[in-house]
């Protein structure tokens, strides 16, 4: 276990675990234009943190439950023809606000709020690693199992129905996976930056991919590079680690866009 004694090794493994789940899921978030949906789910997580601390249960469990509730609520409302961006704007930020207020009521518990808002990847322990990799494995298994049905439902709900696939069920699968990723990611990048880990690698991968599978693979590699690069950068410049990871991802996105511009828009 000597290798895992090194905090940097643990941090790297935690980040890679998150990326393995977040990158392919993030592709679906991008394809289905659910970016704000991811935000709303993530922001609700801080309320989950507060409740978990108040009831003295595991933070992972609290976050998972509240994120799931939020995701299901949004998912249900989205099928009823509300103006989605407004609705999500209301829900994402009110969930965050209620969460922050709830945390402030917690007496006797010293809560490092920053750790939940921006993550604390350098403090990941062996138990955290088990949770992160367990959650990530579950998400990967879900996506692997439903991949073809998810893609069909993403293309067009009626095509899915005609092939005997219920697109509402596939939406639930994505919702569940999203809540899991949020619960896993909170320790790594924190609630404010989870959506970035979903979207930025996927968007960066787009110009280099001809099929959905290649895009998911490329997003995973780009995410992994971001994690390793961000960790190193935060060591060198003593910058906060979670944001550093997202910064590296953002720089890669800019580079990818530049390459795309050079290639011309031949890929569409």
């Amino acid at each position: 276990m000597t290798l895992l004694d090194d905090f940097l090794v643990r941090a790297t493994l935690a980040g890679l675990g998150l990326v393995m789940a977040a990158a392919p899921l993030g592709c679906f978030v991008v394809w289905r234009r659910m970016a704000y949906f991811g935000d709303a789910t993530a922001h609700a997580a801080i309320l989950g943190v507060a409740l978990a601390l108040a009831f003295d249960t595991s933070v992972f469990g609290g976050v998972l439950v509240v994120s799931l509730l939020m995701a299901f609520t949004v998912s249900t409302l989205s099928n009823r023809g509300y103006a989605m961006d407004t609705l999500l704007g209301v829900m994402a930020h009110s969930a965050l606000a209620f969460g922050l207020v709830a945390v402030s009521f917690l007496q006797g518990v010293r809560v490092d709020l920053m750790a939940y808002l921006f993550g604390d990847i350098l403090a990941v322990g062996i138990a955290d690693l088990a949770v992160i990799w367990g959650g990530a494995a579950l998400v990967i298994a879900l996506l692997w199992w439903r991949w073809s049905a998810l893609l069909t439902a993403t293309l067009n709900p009626d095509l899915a129905y005609a092939a005997g696939i219920d697109p509402r069920r596939e939406q639930l699968v994505l919702t569940l996976a999203l809540a899991l990723v949020v619960a896993v990611a909170i320790k790594v990048v924190g609630v404010l930056l989870i959506a970035a880990m979903l979207i930025v690698p996927a968007a960066t991968a787009r110009p280099f991919a001809g099929t959905p599978e290649r895009m998911a693979l490329a997003a995973t590699i780009i995410g992994a590079v971001s994690v390793i690069g961000g960790l190193q950068a935060s060591l060198v410049w003593d910058s906060p680690t979670g944001p550093s990871i997202v910064c590296v991802a953002a720089i890669l996105f800019v580079l990818s866009s530049a390459v795309r511009g050079l290639l011309g828009n031949s890929r569409g």
Binding site: R33, T152, L155, D158, L159, A162, I165, P212, G268
Partner: protein, 247 residues
């Protein structure tokens, strides 16, 4: 037995009754076309048949194990989703290269395998959609205004392709169309829909029915006249109503 048997179908969407008391059956090998004004429930009827809309009452009975091919009205593929034609044909069930090639050839989209879906022209896109619908060797092919966005020669070629496919595969075809002239020339049976079935039968019968004329105007013999009339018109057209207004 019929491929699809619909009896007493009512569908409500958002509190509005879109379809009421629809009785319909589709037999093996026939081409049935649904015509009707905008908002008459044509797409809803097709979506009920493929299972995307639940009836509020009535029944839709499909032949057990019915193989269904569906070509949607318009398929928007988000530009962020990379998708080659070949990969598209693998959704949701992977098929062999030989099967994919054969379906593309049947649909008249032979050389498109490696192309990105987003880079196809409207006509090529619809042919690829048709190819995908053919993969399951359908007994019933369902098309929802599949030629929207195609110019007139393009849509005429597309309907010719569908007639070829029917002769080749022996499948039944159920389609919605705005293009009355094509409908009248290519269908075995026409159903005139406006929330309920106004009239149905052979094209000539429907074209002369008073219910049909009430919806599409009396003109000089309805759509058959339009069909002849259209040869002189090569400019862009939306609906046949425009031509009637010009008469």
């Amino acid at each position: 037995m019929s491929l699809v048997e619909i009896s007493g179908l009512n569908v409500q969407l958002g509190g509005n009754t879109v379809l009421h008391h629809v009785n319909l059956h589709i037999n093996a090998g026939e081409i049935v076309t649904i015509v009707g004004p905008n908002g008459s429930g044509k797409s809803t009827l097709l979506r009920a048949i493929i299972g995307a809309v639940q009836p509020s009452s009535g029944t839709i009975t499909r032949k057990p194990g019915l193989r269904l091919g569906y070509v949607p009205q318009k398929l928007h593929i988000d530009p962020t989703l990379p998708m080659t034609v070949r990969r598209f044909l693998d959704l949701p069930i992977r098929v062999s290269d030989a099967t994919a090639e054969a379906a593309l050839a049947d649909a008249g989209a032979g050389a498109l395998t490696g192309r990105q879906m987003s880079g196809l022209s409207g006509g090529q896109f619809q042919r690829v959609l048709l190819a995908r619908a053919l993969l399951s060797r359908p007994e019933l092919l369902v098309l929802d205004e599949a030629t929207q966005g195609l110019d007139q020669p393009g849509s005429a070629a597309f309907y010719q392709k569908i007639a070829d496919v029917r002769d080749h595969l022996g499948c039944a075809v159920l389609m919605v169309s705005h293009e009355l002239h094509v409908v009248m020339a290519a269908s075995d049976r026409v159903i005139c829909l406006n929330g309920h079935i106004c009239c149905q039968g052979e094209p000539e019968h429907v074209a002369s029915a008073p219910e049909y004329r009430a919806l599409f105007g009396t003109g000089t013999g309805g759509a058959l006249a339009l069909y002849r009339h259209e040869h002189g018109h090569n400019h862009d057209h939306d609906h046949d109503h425009d031509h009637e207004a010009a008469e």
